[in-house]
Chain length 105, copies 2
């Protein structure tokens, strides 16, 4: 993933409504109108959140008749999670090296 | 974690320099001056990034003589990773339920 892609994913996740849209549409697709009703928001406000999530690859839109159905992409979440796990592994490797140094004394 | 705490963590991670500060200071503490030199940035610019990371709990500062040493907090990364894992688990549970439904037919 490029820096810009990772920036977009974390930026999209830095908002409680957007995280909730991801959670909800992981459990089943929803139309933008359904999301607007669920969050008591204007259609335009939800559309903005949906656009941010879509540009991050966290959700995808599908046209079904007159509706636009939104579903979350678990693979993008997994990529973000793996990135955080990589950071933690750097730290674990360092702690292990320090442990080994002290054991060697 | 409150919504605001999670917002701050993901906002802090939505920038390549800030992610690199986390990575670097997971491997060993660094002073703000060292970070400024490493990124060829002004002291003030790095201090801003450090403040965003600190308010998210991703790094902590320690005063050592005249220096402020920065070190990353792997626990905060882990909390963010667990949150993403929870989302993925929601999705897995749903896929499993669908599988069971089809098997039941």
């Amino acid at each position: 993933m490029s820096d810009a892609e990772v920036d977009r994913i974390f930026h999209a996740l830095a908002d409680a409504t957007r995280r909730d849209i991801v959670r909800r549409t992981l459990l089943g697709q929803a139309s933008v109108s359904e999301l607007a009703a669920a969050y008591d928001m204007s259609f335009a406000a939800v559309q903005k959140h949906v656009a941010v999530l879509e540009s991050a690859g966290l959700i995808h839109k599908q046209v079904s008749g007159r509706q636009r159905l939104v579903h979350a992409d678990p693979e993008t979440l997994e990529r973000a999670r793996n990135l955080l796990a990589d950071y933690e592994n750097l730290w674990r490797a360092r702690v292990q090296r320090l442990d080994e140094m002290f054991e060697g004394e």
